[in-house]
């Protein structure tokens, strides 16, 4: 709001420009909200009038009722909490571990060349294929789901960060070496700060990966969580429950992505030239 005081001194043309910008933003937002309301309204209407069978497609009002029901019997936050914990912990572990391993691979070219084919194969492998193995090794509790979440995100984190570390500006490396910098100094003064933008984009990708991992894990083995509600809802044909869990999932996935975007605004200020 700092510039508002000076608005008087702007030219006519600039004021028109500002007005047009505001109008544009307004139109975009009203269309966004409008589409959502329209979809919900059409959904509700079509089940109320009987164009679609509410037993098969559920409806917004039934979803709200289901969520309220879950809240009343006290299981709503239990399921949300279970999935959130698995997702957040898996996310944190895969990011930290992935960053560390990428640093290690950056440090030694030999280790990097030796391990490259392993990483490529692990990246290509669909992690869900490990499902039965994970159940046998880790049982049917949260540990198995956490493990699934970690392996889904880990390889992506490693590859993403390694690419960023390896593509550090050659001239800046030369400059630091001409100053007599050792490898630790090159790492801390150049490689880590210059890869900050990549780190943030890795976080964004890994938020999605963590949700895939935790929900996939809950599909395979679980007694609680949003993924469990979805699978259970599908098995007993309670479409209301399935849809309610999916809506809640949408909300939290968006929230987590939003938090990372906030972090980006906080951290990335002066990375581009």
């Amino acid at each position: 709001m700092k510039h508002k005081r000076y608005e008087i001194s702007y030219s006519e043309e600039h004021l028109r420009f500002l007005k047009k910008r505001r109008l544009h933003v307004g139109v975009v937002w009203s269309l966004r909200v409008g589409i959502l309301l329209l979809l919900i309204g059409f959904w509700e209407l079509s089940t109320a009038v009987g164009w679609a069978d509410a037993f098969l497609v559920s409806s917004p009002s039934r979803i709200v009722k289901t969520i309220a029901g879950l809240y009343q019997d006290g299981t709503l936050f239990y399921h949300i909490g279970t999935t959130l914990w698995e997702t957040a912990a898996g996310f944190a572990i895969s990011v930290v571990l992935g960053y560390g391993i990428a640093l290690l691979l950056w440090w030694s070219e030999t280790v990097r060349s030796v391990l490259e084919p392993y990483i490529v194969v692990l990246n290509a492998l669909p992690k869900i294929a490990l499902g039965p193995l994970i159940i046998i090794w880790f049982g049917t509790g949260s540990k198995a789901i956490l493990f699934m979440t970690v392996i889904v995100g880990l390889i992506v984190a490693i590859m993403h960060m390694l690419t960023a570390f390896v593509s550090t500006d050659k001239n800046k490396l030369l400059l630091l070496r001409s100053m007599g910098a050792n490898k630790w100094q090159i790492l801390s003064k150049l490689v880590v700060p210059s890869s900050l933008a990549s780190f943030i984009s890795m976080l964004k990708v890994n938020v999605g990966m963590a949700w895939i991992g935790s929900i996939m894990g809950e599909y395979i083995v679980s007694r609680a969580g949003l993924g469990y509600l979805i699978v259970y809802g599908g098995q007993v044909f309670k479409l209301d429950l399935l849809m309610a869990a999916t809506v809640i999932l949408c909300f939290f996935a968006a929230l987590m992505y939003f938090l990372v975007a906030m972090l980006e605004k906080l951290l990335v200020k002066n990375t581009e030239n």
Binding site: M179, K189, N270, N273
Partner: protein
């Protein structure tokens, strides 16, 4: 005169999977304290290799490079770290050497002040013009108090107008700090306008084919360009470079 840098019969071979390339062979020259030496050569003649050898970043395949004192490197682009303020950028070489003492820090800051950067110390590089950034890069190089400055086409990334101004700027700073400098460039007029001595390199493998002492009274690169000798030198060096 005290010799700061000497190349004695230096050769350098690049090794790649596909084979080896002789980049430099039988290269000899020396740089004395306080001198401004320019080396010109056709493009791809191993100029950057030569500077890396001078800085000790590469070891010669044959011959010997002797150096008394420290080198400071200045590259084509300013290579300021965009996440650091100008002050932090300037103090970087001291940080690397691990001797960020008050005295050294004050020396660096006084250089910044002397050459018109004091208002920008807390700014980020993206807030500065190309010319100011290159000046900051020079102050960063000088902050570590090097005995010889190695300049790798430090003006070639700038537009012509800025380039003339920055060249003048850098020449002024280097001469008033009484620094020794070795400039590598493919720009003949830049070499003539800046240097006390010009060495001409052959194409690969690089060696010195001609050496000239330029007897300009005038240290200002812009004024040098107006002198009659300037075009004579230009023609001579142009012929030697292409000959």
């Amino acid at each position: 005169m005290e010799e700061i840098l000497r190349f004695t019969d230096v050769g350098y071979i690049y090794h790649t999977k596909r084979g080896e390339t002789v980049a430099i062979k039988g290269l000899s020259f020396s740089v004395e304290k306080g001198e401004f030496v320019a080396i010109i050569g056709p493009s791809g003649c191993g100029k950057t290799t030569l500077l890396s050898l001078a800085a000790g970043l590469l070891a010669p395949s044959e011959g010997e490079v002797t150096r008394s004192g420290r080198c400071g490197y200045m590259l084509q682009k300013d290579e300021l770290f965009p996440w650091r303020t100008i002050e932090k950028n300037i103090l970087l070489p001291l940080e690397i050497k691990g001797k960020l003492q008050q005295e050294q820090k004050e020396h660096a800051c006084s250089l910044a002040e002397k050459y018109g950067l004091s208002d920008y110390l807390q700014s980020y590089p993206s807030e500065l013009s190309g010319g100011m950034r290159q000046r900051a890069a020079l102050i960063r190089t000088l902050a570590a108090d090097p005995d010889v400055l190695l300049l790798d086409e430090p003006f070639s990334a700038l537009d012509y107008q800025t380039r003339l101004n920055v060249t003048k700027d850098v020449a002024h700073i280097i001469r008033s700090e009484q620094k020794t400098a070795l400039l590598i460039t493919h720009d003949i007029s830049e070499a003539i306008s800046l240097a006390d001595r010009v060495l001409v390199l052959s194409s690969r493998p690089a060696r010195v084919t001609h050496a000239h002492s330029l007897q300009f009274e005038e240290p200002d690169p812009l004024k040098r360009r107006e002198k009659g000798e300037f075009s004579e030198w230009f023609e001579l060096l142009w012929r030697e470079l292409n000959g």
